[in-house]
């Protein structure tokens, strides 16, 4: 067995164990063998859906980063490069600022934020698609349209902030920092199935991604249409990212750094890279989210802050040992 397969096997053993540990760890630790009713509520209604969602979102973000770095041939690409998070942010801030007037907030209930975030993400994807299609889905066309739309979106978000009430801004701000505190099973199932389907399709296309990294011209000679592949993978990563952003807001680092870390360990072949990124992302976010709700308990920290600090330090230590 090669290194990548071994590592993936290791992850498959470690993840369930760690997930179980995350389940019992918290502001107060719970013994699984001697649970009160309160403990049961906390374990099954609060922690379990949260941990499962963290696993799914971590997997989704890492997969998107991995795919986008390949198809955009850009080491700085992450799930938010193509304006998806910006679109979702516009959706959420608009809901929080304008929604109450339109009665939308009540009508949508606890699905309000995820739905508008996803709608915003889709709108952004649509716009990027439109612009990039004029550029025949070239690498530059995609990146430029994504980056420019991001600027426009963050301008709109700031505009909404400038004219809305403070309490509305606050909710939007916390959403923007990313957190997994508001999860229920229904939401988890919808988002989870979207993320997993996306990951499977990306895995099927992994060989094409290997070819794409050689450059468009060579890809054509090897029988892969860069335009079609890039378009397909762009849509898939957009849907995954949209789903992740809808439940958890904007969690940085996972999508950017996990694929890089895995590339340092298992090499650039995309089958193993994708699988290991997915598993590492899942593990990483489940652990960091547990830290977010535990280290300052009863306070909650935004998980994005933890992923940034821990992941960054870890990545630097890898860079010191190995050349990229």
């Amino acid at each position: 067995m090669n290194r990548g397969a071994l590592l993936a096997l290791g992850f498959l053993i470690v993840i369930p164990a760690v997930a179980l540990l995350c389940l019992v760890v918290g502001g107060t630790n719970i013994s699984l063998f001697n649970m009160s009713d309160t403990d049961r509520t906390i374990i099954f209604d609060v922690r379990l859906p949260r941990i499962l969602t963290a696993l799914l979102v971590g997997a989704g973000l890492a997969a998107c980063g991995c795919v986008l770095q390949a198809i955009l041939r850009n080491p700085l690409a992450d799930p938010y490069t193509l304006g998806i998070s910006g679109g979702a942010a516009v959706g959420v801030t608009a809901l929080l600022a304008i929604g109450p007037v339109a009665g939308l907030v009540n009508a949508l209930g606890s699905f309000g934020l995820p739905l508008t975030a996803f709608a915003g993400a889709l709108a952004a994807v649509g716009l990027v698609f439109l612009i990039a299609s004029k550029q025949r889905f070239s690498v530059h066309g995609l990146i430029l349209s994504g980056v420019i739309l991001s600027f426009i979106f963050s301008g709109i978000v700031m505009l909404i902030f400038a004219v809305s009430k403070p309490t509305e801004i606050q909710s939007a701000m916390f959403w923007l920092m990313g957190n997994l505190a508001n999860i229920n099973y229904t939401l988890m199932l919808i988002v989870g199935s979207l993320i997993l389907t996306g990951i499977i399709i990306a895995f099927i296309l992994a060989k094409d991604m290997d070819v794409m990294t050689l450059g468009d011209e060579k890809a054509v000679h090897l029988g892969v249409s860069p335009q079609t592949t890039r378009r397909t993978l762009f849509i898939i990563t957009s849907l995954i990212t949209g789903a992740c952003v809808a439940v958890s807001g904007i969690i940085g680092f996972v999508g950017l750094m996990i694929p890089h870390i895995m590339r340092l360990i298992v090499g650039p072949s995309h089958r193993m890279l994708l699988i290991n990124s997915v598993l590492a992302g899942a593990l990483f976010l489940a652990v960091t989210d547990t830290l977010a709700r535990t280290i300052m308990a009863p306070n909650e920290l935004p998980v994005g802050v933890i992923t940034g600090i821990i992941g960054g330090v870890f990545f630097i230590s890898l860079l010191m040992k190995k050349t990229v």
Partner: protein, 290 residues
């Protein structure tokens, strides 16, 4: 991400209640406050840069001496606004030709205050009002500043009487309260806050008293574990219903089981005035005796 983080900090500063900055060293020069008091004997044209100050002012004075306010102050529309709390329009403030500008250390930006002082305007900066004692001190200071000291202390002694009267009804036995200032994130009030002192005066205990900061984002499993007898939601417009609904998922919490989830007008908890303090205490005691 960093951009959003700074924006968050900014947002926290502008936001009313849960967003006041934690105590910082006074860089706004409170020290020269007394000098100002003596140099403007009875200020005729006043601008208030914080809603709580406007409310205090309303208790002491007829509003005709207030010539400017912020967007968030609750006053008749004919009093012109100078903008929001974070970035009031310096031009509009100048145009209103105030004798004195009232600001707070917590809500207003030091940079704005410096700018106004550089322009030769007199700015009085009030300190924190995180307890009943501080609220009263600030109120008396405001009375002194406006040349209405005796009126302010009369109002306070009246309110103190009311307070001791309602506190006769404090039920015996412990009672745990969870305050919900926002539902996403689940934000509450920690120790050293106006709200915490309100709860203390009702004979109850704030379950978030041990949190690390004044306005913590609270972990919901801790709410379940600490089993509050009362959940009090600070009114948040259309979001109030969603905030109330979310507790239905946790029927084991005593407050949920007994249906004791109440909605409090936001200003009672978020605008630290003596009047609001007494009203909030009475309201909670009333709910607790139900």
């Amino acid at each position: 991400m960093r951009k959003y983080f700074y924006a968050l900090l900014l947002g926290l500063l502008i936001t009313g209640c849960p967003a006041r900055k934690d105590a910082t060293p006074d860089t706004t020069g409170l020290a020269d406050a007394t000098r100002i008091v003596y140099s403007v004997r009875t200020p005729g044209r006043i601008i208030s840069l914080a809603p709580a100050l406007t409310e205090n002012l309303k208790l002491i004075l007829p509003l005709d001496r207030l010539v400017g306010r912020t967007d968030y102050c609750n006053t008749p529309a004919q009093i012109p606004s100078v903008g929001n709390i974070m970035e009031p329009s310096i031009e509009r403030i100048l145009a209103l030709n105030p004798d004195i500008i009232l600001a707070t250390k917590e809500a207003n930006q030091p940079a704005v205050i410096h700018k106004l002082r550089e322009l030769g305007l007199k700015v009085f900066v009030f300190g924190e009002s995180d307890s009943w004692k501080m609220v009263q001190d600030n109120f008396l200071l405001m009375g002194k500043l406006l040349g209405e000291e005796s009126k302010a202390s009369a109002i306070l002694s009246n309110l103190n009487q009311q307070l001791s009267k309602v506190r006769e009804h404090v039920p015996v036995g412990s009672c745990k309260v969870f305050i919900q200032l926002n539902n996403n994130p689940l934000m509450t009030a920690g120790n050293n806050t106006f709200i915490n002192d309100i709860i203390k005066h009702t004979g109850c205990r704030n379950i978030a008293e041990d949190a690390a900061n004044k306005w913590p984002v609270f972990n919901i499993e801790e709410v379940i574990r600490r089993a509050p007898d009362l959940i009090i939601i600070s009114e948040m417009g259309e979001m109030t219903a969603t905030a109330k609904d979310m507790w239905r998922n946790f029927p084991d919490i005593p407050a949920v089981k007994s249906g004791r989830i109440y909605v409090m007008p936001a200003e009672l908890m978020c605008q630290p005035t003596p009047d609001n303090f007494v009203k909030a205490v009475s309201q909670i005691i009333e709910w607790n005796t139900k």
